[in-house]
């Protein structure tokens, strides 16, 4: 798993790739939450286009990101969900809780 933040004007995009599971979700969580707390960019976007698999600890990290974004008054957006990622958000009834778009263009619109 790799996670790289791209900082733009009023937006930070996190490009995530690979499988997110118990072995690496703490790293994703730390990168996301540290960036959000330190930079407080108004819009935080997570690019999941290259994520083939995400487990419950990865989804829990996204839920934490969403909660912190609400506390800080930021928008927290996901895009590029694979079938596997979409299924687990549906199973957890979280698909309607997150702001989800198909691609980067719509996520930044």
């Amino acid at each position: 798993m790799k996670i790289d933040p791209r900082r733009m004007d009023k937006v930070t995009i996190f490009d995530v790739s690979g499988d997110i599971d118990l072995a690496n979700s703490p790293e994703m969580r730390k990168t996301l939450l540290t960036e959000m707390r330190e930079h407080k960019t108004p819009r935080v976007v997570v690019n999941l286009t290259k994520v083939r698999y995400i487990d419950s600890s990865g989804v829990a990290s996204l839920v934490e990101g969403l909660k912190i974004s609400r506390d800080l008054g930021l928008r927290f957006i996901l895009f590029g969900l694979s079938p596997a990622a979409r299924e687990v958000l549906q199973l957890s009834r979280l698909l309607k809780i997150f702001e989800v778009y198909d691609d980067e263009e719509h996520a930044l619109a």
Partner: protein, 177 residues
Amino acid sequence: MKKVPPASRATASSPVRRTSAGATDLSLRAAKAGERVALLRLKFASNPELLGVVRSAVCALSESIGFSPEGSRAVIRSVDEALANVMRHAYGGQRDMPIHLTCWSVASKLPQGAKAALEIVIMDRGIPMPQEKLHAPPPRELRPGGLGLEWMRKSMDVVEHSRKGKTNSLRMLKYAV
């Protein structure tokens, strides 16, 4: 908790055959009516870095016996969450404790419309899952945690936890339709 030697050797049992080149032959035959055939046995350490290896093996196996991509993802998700629970809770994060996983092709008592069934048994020697967690309702409020068991229950047709002596056993069954 009694310590047992660390395990890291993965083994495949008949009818999963080793080719002369050493690769695993996954051209499996489905179990015949009434049969329960062991397709894959893995013995590995409770190290989260190995989860991807197990997911790959279970993915190849489930697809080879006729699961759809969606069904295969359900199996992989459930195995991964079950193993993560063992690593995190039963073994408390210790990375060198043994986990046994066996996959069976089952062809008895298939419900109408099912063309195959995959039974997965995961065994460990860690702390048993607390009963209140096993029977807890799905989390209702927006909070991290508690998702794995819910996903397993929703993804598989059967999920059964048991404990015999010092061994925890999780049996899961999924029908390929």
